[in-house]
């Protein structure tokens, strides 16, 4: 068992990290927000935290906390501007944010190392930390969903107008969720940066954002297991099949299409679907 762990602990770390990041998108998808800001928010957390640990001599926990706070603030600012946009326009604006952050990272050599990236980052992220923080995130989301606030979330997903005529500020609620998702992305960014010895601006671009939002869509948007299943499948499958990076992107694209078309509830909807097939 321990041998197995050492052989695959890279894969396990990635599953844990990507699951956590996927929850940031999961809470937004729950109110019909399809955000591609994850990459940009992660980058903020990642670069801030390595600057603090490598150049300012901070220890890991306060650096991670700073990453979380900085990305939450960025999400709050971004959300205040773009949450009023509808559907596709919102998604485009969040993508533009990720691109802007990436371009800044490419040019801010003193902090980000420019296109070459930053080398020799101390590997401070441990599997148990990833597991513990993922568990914490899942617990917090579970607690919110099983409260009156969770009911309000479901109501907003179904009918925003009904919720606002019931006296709730839907815009403020979405901004709070977007800020929380920024916190998760910032924390994830800090953890990701200290997982490998190297990061470059390309690690936090469009593909990273798509990957993260696809995981809960693939796994299931209404079930807490969804993001974990989706993120793990996206890590393990290409690894197991030894796909090239391009092949992986094609696979993700095709899987996405298939899920959206045939499995609106995501992979967690499979058992139900097969039961129904069996019954009919």
């Amino acid at each position: 068992m321990t041998d197995l762990f050492y052989a695959y602990h890279n894969v396990i770390d990635l599953c844990l990290l990507n699951s956590m990041l996927a929850f940031g998108c999961f809470i937004l998808l729950g109110v019909n927000l399809f955000s591609l800001a994850t990459g940009g928010l992660m980058a903020i957390g990642a670069y801030l935290s390595i600057w603090l640990t490598m150049q300012q001599g901070w220890s890991f926990a306060p650096a991670l906390t700073a990453a979380l706070v900085a990305a939450s603030l960025a999400a709050f600012g971004l959300g205040s501007l773009v949450l009023r946009l509808r559907g596709d326009y919102f998604t485009m604006a969040t993508l533009a944010f990720t691109e802007v952050v990436r371009i800044i990272a490419l040019n801010w050599d003193s902090v980000t190392g420019g296109a070459l990236g930053v080398f020799g980052i101390p590997q401070l992220t441990e599997t148990w930390q990833l597991a513990g923080l993922l568990a914490l995130v899942i617990y917090l989301i579970w607690a919110v969903r099983h409260s009156a606030v969770g009911e309000r979330m479901r109501a907003i997903a179904a009918d925003e107008l009904a919720v606002s005529t019931a006296g709730h500020d839907v815009a403020r609620f979405k901004l709070a969720l977007f800020t929380a998702s920024g916190a998760i992305a910032g924390l994830g960014g800090g953890l990701a940066a200290h997982l490998n010895m190297f990061i470059a601006p390309g690690d936090f671009g469009f593909l990273r954002s798509v990957d993260t939002v696809i995981a809960p869509v693939l796994g299931g948007v209404w079930n807490l297991a969804g993001p974990v299943i989706g993120a793990s499948v996206l890590v393990v499958l290409p690894e197991a099949l030894r796909f090239s990076a391009q092949m992986r992107e094609i696979l993700i694209g095709v899987t996405m299409l298939a899920v959206v078309l045939f499995l609106p509830a995501g992979l967690v909807g499979l058992p139900k679907l097969s039961r129904r097939r069996a019954a009919s």
Binding site: S147, A155, S164, T165, A166, G167
Partner: protein
């Protein structure tokens, strides 16, 4: 005493269509006021601009003498305006009770209560549940408390929507065709419910095509036709007003 709500030359244009033109009237406190008119005469549009779902193109709406036109729906709800919808807008995948508690003004749990699941949380949620159940009982839908709203009959859903509107403790209740789709006996109990609202401090604006209900429960009626206010007065007077009769007959001819 200032009326609870006053409309001053309220207009709403959709491109070239004048859904409302210069509508003025006021809602005295504790009254049940009817708003009738043929299809497309602007009744729902008027409810929308009063409740903040839509904004008037022109004119003023005064709540307790203070202008409120153009304010967002959630603020108007907080200031005491609640409504139901002609096309029911319950949340289908929440239970009847959850739909009602969604609008409760009683304090909801704070972030710490929820995240740490403090003992207070249980008490707060029990209180909210009890409030919601009471409201469902008042509208006669208590037996459906834990049923998903999407699966209920038209009449039940209409009543639950009224309970949800009452949950926000409004002073003004806007009902848009509450009897539509209800059976005869459901209409009778709806009538009793509406008639009892002024005693609880509510003022009601009722849009309804069921003339027996309107005539039976309203203190005063305003009639719209093609966005214009064409008559106002006591039910008996409005019923025999030639302009009203013509508007309705004209609508039937069309």
């Amino acid at each position: 005493m200032t009326p609870l709500l006053e409309l001053r030359s309220v207009s709403r244009h959709f491109g070239g269509v004048a859904a409302l033109s210069n509508v003025s009237f006021s809602l005295p406190r504790g009254a049940v006021i009817g708003l009738i008119g043929p299809n497309g005469s602007g009744k729902t549009t008027l409810m929308n601009v009063i409740s903040g779902v839509d904004a008037p193109t022109d004119g003023a709406i005064l709540l307790d003498g203070a202008p409120v036109q153009g304010l967002p729906a959630n603020l108007l709800a907080r200031r005491g305006i609640a409504r139901t919808f002609q096309h029911i807008r319950l949340i289908p995948d929440l239970t009847a009770l959850q739909n009602v508690t969604l609008a409760l003004r009683t304090p909801s749990a704070g972030a710490l209560d929820i995240l740490l699941r403090l003992p207070r949380l249980g008490r707060i949620e029990r209180d909210r549940r009890a409030c919601g159940l009471k409201l469902l009982d008042q509208v006669g839908a208590g037996q459906h408390a834990d049923t998903l709203a999407g699966g209920l009959s038209y009449g039940d859903r209409r009543r639950i929507e009224i309970a949800r509107a009452l949950a926000s403790e409004p002073r003004l209740l806007l009902l848009d065709e509450p009897a539509a789709g209800m059976t005869h006996s459901e209409r009778t109990s709806l009538r009793d419910l509406i008639a009892g609202l002024p005693e609880r401090g509510l003022t009601v604006l009722l849009v309804e095509h069921d003339m027996d209900l309107v005539m039976g429960v309203c203190d005063e009626i305003h009639v719209l036709n093609q966005g214009n206010s064409i008559a106002s007065g006591k039910p008996e007077a409005v019923r025999s007003d030639p302009k009203v009769i013509e508007a309705y007959l004209g609508a039937e001819d069309a």
